[in-house]
Amino acid sequence: MFDIPFENSWPIANILTEPVGVAHYVSVGAVLFVCGALCMATKRNALGVLMGIELVLNGANLNFVAFGSQYLRADEHSLGLDGQLIALFVIVLAAAEAAVALAIVLNFYNSHDSIDVDHADQLSG
């Protein structure tokens, strides 16, 4: 069905004897991202949604760090230190955004006495 463009064997054949590459890190980042996105979509607790956001940002961070790592790819098209610097800024901005989001959630809790996001429907038509 798919024309799988693998040159040699499956990538998990030599699981422990070969170095991992960017693709493995990107896969872990993808798992984190999908878990976070599903958390954001399905959790009723507002803090659960916040946790989903943190997972999404961490998945992206792992991607950046992987692209900027000298141990994972051998060519010269590497992000180098830029990957790590971008990840640094993402961490800082995620912390800032979590603080504001928590302040909003606490405000909502104080005024509505509920942390269920399904109860935040005052603007719905």
Partner: protein, 190 residues
């Protein structure tokens, strides 16, 4: 059989911890346990960053993300964890839709990742010959505008200043938003 390449072993170990606890966050219904699983997942992600050679970013992840942002989140959990809010279940229909969409996205991402030959990893001899470098001083110089590792790339001084001012604004805003007020009466709940 060749000898085990230990960085790969630790990669699989850390990524197993990260992914399993991330799925735990997704599946769990108890908000406090979700927070704890998230802590473990992000700490293992910091370990992955250390493995990829980004020790400064990994230490920052531990200090700021795990030790700061998640403590903040857990504070929020503690402040709002009344009896009826600790365990909140999601409707089954949402789960099905979510898993379909999420599963499709995951498949597409992993397939795309493994379809690029350069991303599948270096040869073992080449990987063992990469010299270790320290990243702290080049990162610090880069943040001050002087890129010593790659002189033809721009520095990050402007970004550094912008983020600092941004953090100050966020600090003031969050403190203002979360100031203590009299709570209003309970609204009618559906």
């Amino acid at each position: 059989m060749e000898s085990i390449y230990w960085p790969s072993f630790f990669f699989w170990l850390f990524s197993a911890i990260t992914c399993s606890f991330a799925v735990g966050v997704l599946v769990s219904t108890n908000i406090v346990r979700m927070a704890f699983y998230l802590v473990l997942s992000l700490a293992a992600a910091a370990g992955l960053m250390f493995l990829a050679g980004a020790d400064f970013v990994g230490a920052m992840q531990l200090l700021i993300y795990v030790g700061g942002t998640l403590v903040l989140l857990i504070f929020g959990v503690m402040l709002t964890s009344q009896e009826r809010f600790v365990e909140m279940k999601t409707w089954a229909g949402d789960w099905v839709k979510g898993f379909l969409a999420g599963g499709a996205l995951l498949f597409v991402l992993i397939y795309a990742a493994f379809s690029i030959p350069e991303w599948r990893g270096m040869e073992r001899t080449a990987a063992e010959a990469v010299p270790t470098t320290h990243t702290v001083t080049p990162i610090a110089m880069g943040l001050l505008g002087a890129r010593t590792d790659a002189p033809d790339r721009p520095g990050y001084l402007l970004l550094f200043e912008i983020v600092s001012v941004h953090l100050l604004v966020v600090l003031i805003g969050a403190a203002y938003l979360a100031r203590a007020r009299r709570t209003r009466t309970i609204e009618s709940m559906k």
